[in-house]
């Protein structure tokens, strides 16, 4: 009697299991039923107040060609990636609008690049960041970048080096030694900077390259809170990367001093803040190491090295100071002076509220020390 009941129950359970297994359930969704969103772009829509979100994803063609040979179907000619767009007042609305255009699940678990248009309004940017922080499947490790060009010009570009542009940018930002400046900002880092008072967001800006060339990343976009302030050119970006201690492969050239050229300039930075009455003294100490790459004399002398060290340190110091003064004009605390103060002396920091009134009047002192560590191979 009981045995029979157990057997019946077991059969029922098996049936149930089988039906559930066959119908798919909960989170079980094989990869081929998901649209793997690799990059997302956030732009203001034409209609005021709305935003457009672009989702870039690999197509089956792209997947099979990146894989060498697929096992079944695919193989046809076609673009290796595609973009879906959705528009709405919020991220969720835009997401739904985009989801309506595809038969697969828009999956954000492998999003590795987020680009924000510099034309976004501050409250839109705020809303977006907030929404992104709350999406569970979205990891907090994607890289964040600013763009002023349309999505199709920066992330929708076919690249020669990488099948998918998003992967190109991920590798670019991940590899600290591969780039001139390590400008990569991850989502958690960005939201951390936005949440913390006394520091402002700096994002690398992706600019479309010249005709036939891929996009470039050698500009930075400055923010004040959620407000976009300005985009800085290559030279100022170099100054920023040095000031922030992120310089990796910069080079310096001194035509008036034996045509000396330094390569692989790298540095670290130490920030010292000292509240003084109504203002704050900020000492930016930078330690550079450089490699002497070329010199027009055959061998270098101790005197030459001393001169070069002094000259380069002065040149860098000047450049950085100019850059910092520019950020003061823009009122964007890129180095996190206020944050540093809040950590060291929270009561003093509380006195300086709001920090954005104080920052333009902060007194910067830049101290640079240069060490020439390598002289090249033969000489």
């Amino acid at each position: 009697m009981i045995k029979g009941l157990i057997r019946k129950l077991a059969a029922l359970f098996m049936l149930l299991l089988l039906s559930v297994t066959l119908s798919g359930c909960w989170d079980d969704m094989p990869l081929d039923t998901r649209t793997l969103v690799l990059a997302m772009g956030f732009y203001p829509a034409k209609k005021p107040g709305q935003i457009t979100v672009d989702f870039s994803f690999p197509t089956p063609t792209g997947l099979t060609s990146s894989n060498g040979a697929g096992s079944g179907g695919g193989g046809g000619k076609g673009p290796s990636f595609d973009t879906l767009s959705g528009t709405g007042y919020t991220l969720a609305q835009a997401f739904s609008a985009a989801q309506a255009k595809t038969n697969r699940d828009l999956y954000l678990g492998h999003t590795i690049l987020l680009v924000f248009s510099t034309h976004l309004k501050a409250h839109q940017f705020n809303l977006l960041m907030n929404a992104l922080d709350r999406i569970g499947t979205l990891d907090k490790t994607p890289f964040v970048a600013a763009v002023s060009a349309p999505f199709s010009k920066v992330v929708g570009v076919k690249m020669t080096q990488e099948e998918f542009p998003a992967l190109y940018f991920e590798e670019l930002f991940t590899c600290a030694l591969c780039t001139q400046f390590s400008l990569g900002v991850r989502l958690w880092d960005a939201s951390n900077r936005l949440a913390t008072p006394g520091v402002d967001l700096v994002l690398p800006e992706i600019t479309p390259g010249a005709k036939g060339k891929g996009p470039e990343v050698d500009h930075i976009a400055l923010y004040r809170g959620y407000h976009y302030v300005a985009t800085l050119g290559h030279s100022e970006t170099t100054a920023y990367s040095m000031a922030a201690g992120k310089s990796r492969k910069s080079s310096l050239y001194f035509p008036h001093h034996w045509h000396a050229e330094f390569n692989a300039v790298s540095n670290n930075m130490h920030l010292h803040v000292d509240p003084k009455g109504s203002t704050v003294d900020v000492t930016v100490s930078l330690h550079f190491t450089e490699t002497l790459e070329s010199l027009d004399t055959d061998t270098e002398s101790a005197h030459q090295l001393a001169v070069l060290s002094r000259v380069s340190s002065a040149a860098i110091g000047r450049r950085i100071l100019t850059f910092l003064e520019k950020t003061q004009k823009d009122d964007s605390d890129v180095l996190g002076v206020g944050r540093q103060l809040s950590w060291i002396d929270p009561t003093a920091f509380r006195k300086y509220r709001p920090w954005h009134r104080v920052y333009p009047h902060v007194h910067f002192i830049v101290k640079t020390a240069v060490k020439i560590n390598k002289m090249g191979d033969l000489k």
């Binding site: 094989p30 990869l31 690799l38 492998h110």
Partner: protein, 593 residues
């Protein structure tokens, strides 16, 4: 078993009536036999029907009659049905009519002595006995015995004289009970009845048809001993004793099986093995009431409390060196006649992952081997569930590039990963089972053909992805890196549990299932020894022979969980020149070169 044995225990008072009833029965049997004979003739005369059945009945009845008459002789002579009466003729009859109908039982009458001739009967099983001992050392010397006069003078001591002065065999015992005699006879002994004495001589002529000692097949090693047990328990004991010459090595013999009378021996080292384990094993085996014991597996439920667990609680080994090693650790070994595998217990999970190979090479190699085994277990058990979890439920954990590769390989596939796994697993299992059953020559071919042809074809057909082939191959191989065959079985079952949970709950489900398995393992015990020792309960010192094998000088103690009477296994080895300069003298002299 002896058909009348139940009456043996009845009180002596009833014996006369027993005798009466017997003679009565005998008379009835004779009458019946007569009647049947007449009837037979009558039927044969009247009809031409087949009469085999009737003839059988007639033979049976006449045998019964003779058997009963032999019983009455015994009963009259010794006062008991079970005892031999001293009458050789009746013994002959009794033997002839009970066991003697089998062609392999030889019963022979002869006379002891040249001048005075004393009747004797011997019986043995042809094929299980050494004919030289019977022919030359028993019959010949008896027939040529020239002082048989002494025996005729004192027939009650006949067995003693024959024992002391006649039979030239090493192992001779005296027995009087028919029941025991017959069991001994069946075991290959020769029983010798002498007229006049109630004591029967049992000559040890046991010589089983046995396989020679061959190389191990289930537990192979490169550098270890190349001997494996055969089916004969005596050889098994010999092989162990060759490796353990201590007089403290004891074999406690038990006979199990109502029909098989299988010899079972519990081996242990007195004064070292925890006596609680030995007595527990004896007690548990004592209650085992079985018809037969063939593989030893029948005894497992009696030896363990949790017989319904998936995991093997008793380790079986065909290697005498493994058994000797485990005995010296403080375990017991159970030897079962006719089974070339000796059962070792109590065990922990870890014991199933140790091989003699780990100890025949240095500790680095041993450690590497162990780690590879656990890697194999990990791959075999977890790779397909992880594949399902990471491609269907939690694809975010994999690197983006790998996800793109996997997604690419899955483009156009009709089946979700879980059915990919199920399909491939079914194919692999069928191939495996078929290869196991087929003759060796065929199975190799089949394995290769199956793996290559089916694998390639199924990928070409677009039913599973190429990655799946890699995964399932690793799985099939991985589970069998386990050195003991029986340990692969539970994982093959649990594999399904993991597949199902990974489908529903992804990685989270896998972790929960592993916790469940761990919880189950932790709850297992054999004779009070926790199965998960030394991990839970944690014993730091015992860890030296688990995932990593330490060098011998660092493993000087026996495992804690066995609670051996002598925890120390080896002496401390002074490896430094300061402590034992004499050992280093030669080395130092050499350095002056």
């Amino acid at each position: 078993m002896w058909p009348f044995s139940r009456r043996r225990n009845q009180s002596t008072k009833q014996k006369p009536s027993e005798g009466e009833s017997l003679s009565k029965a005998m008379a009835e049997a004779a009458a019946l036999s007569q009647n049947v004979n007449t009837a037979d003739a009558a039927i044969q005369y009247t009809s031409g029907t087949d009469l085999t059945l009737l003839k059988d009945i007639i033979t049976e009845t006449s045998t019964l009659e003779e058997r009963l008459s032999a019983f009455t002789t015994d009963l009259a002579g010794s006062g008991s049905l079970d005892s031999f009466s001293g009458n050789v003729a009746s013994a002959y009859e009794r033997l002839k009519n009970t066991v003697g109908q089998s062609p392999d039982i030889i019963i022979r009458r002869f006379f002891i002595g040249t001048t005075v001739r004393i009747p004797a009967v011997l019986a043995f099983v042809d094929g299980l006995t050494d004919s030289q001992i019977i022919d030359q050392d028993t019959i010949m010397v008896s027939q040529e015995y020239d002082r048989a006069y002494a025996i005729s003078q004192d027939p009650k001591r006949a067995h003693q004289i024959v024992h002391d002065s006649v039979v030239a065999s090493g192992h001779l015992t005296v027995e009087a009970s028919w029941q025991k005699l017959l069991v001994k006879l069946m075991g290959g002994n020769t029983i010798l009845f002498i007229e006049g004495t109630e004591n029967v001589l049992v000559v040890d002529t046991v010589k089983y048809p046995a396989r020679s000692i061959s190389t191990p097949t289930a537990e192979r090693t490169v550098l270890g001993s190349q001997e494996a047990f055969n089916e004969v328990i005596l050889t098994q004991m010999n092989l162990i004793r060759m490796r353990m010459k201590t007089p403290d090595l004891h074999f406690d013999n038990i006979s199990l099986g109502r029909l098989s009378h299988t010899n079972v021996a519990i081996a242990h080292i007195e004064g070292l093995t925890n006596p609680a384990i030995v007595s527990a094993a004896k007690q548990k085996l004592a209650v085992a009431d079985l018809a037969e014991v063939q593989s030893g597996q029948e005894l497992v439920p009696y030896l363990t409390d949790r017989a319904n667990t998936l995991f093997p609680l008793i380790r079986r080994s065909e290697r005498p060196d493994v058994v000797a090693r485990e005995l010296s650790m403080g375990k017991i070994a159970i030897l079962v006649d006719n089974t070339p595998f000796v059962m070792l217990m109590p065990n922990t999970l870890m014991d199933f992952y140790q091989t003699i190979e780990d100890y025949t090479m240095n500790s680095w190699y041993g450690t590497l081997e162990r780690l590879i085994r656990f890697l194999g277990l990990f791959l075999g058990l977890l790779l397909p569930p992880l594949y399902i979890a990471l491609t269907s439920v939690n694809p975010d954990l994999l690197p983006t590039k790998m996800v793109l590769t996997i997604a690419g390989s899955r483009v156009g596939l009709p089946l979700p990963p879980i059915f990919e796994v199920l399909t491939m697993w079914a194919i692999i299992e069928v191939l495996r089972e078929a290869a196991l059953r087929l003759p060796k020559e065929l199975s190799n071919t089949l394995g290769t053909v199956g793996a290559i042809v089916v694998g390639t074809a199924i990928v070409k057909a677009g039913i599973v992805s190429p990655l799946m082939i890699v995964i399932i191959t690793l799985t099939a191989l991985g589970l069998f890196t386990s050195p003991s065959y029986e340990m692969a079985a539970p994982w093959r079952v649990l594999f399904w549990l993991l597949i199902i949970v990974s489908y529903f709950l992804g990685l989270y489900g896998i972790i929960l299932a592993l916790l469940l398995i761990l919880g189950h393992l932790a709850s297992l015990e054999v004779f009070g020894v926790p199965y998960l020792s030394p991990f839970g309960p944690y014993h730091g010192r015992d860890m030296r022979d688990t995932l990593v094998r330490f060098p011998e000088p660092m493993m000087t103690k026996r495992p804690t969980y066995l609670q051996s009477l002598k925890p120390k296994k080896a002496g401390h080895y002074d490896a430094t020149p300061d402590e034992s300069p004499s050992i280093y003298q030669i080395a130092q002299e050499r350095t002056h070169d």
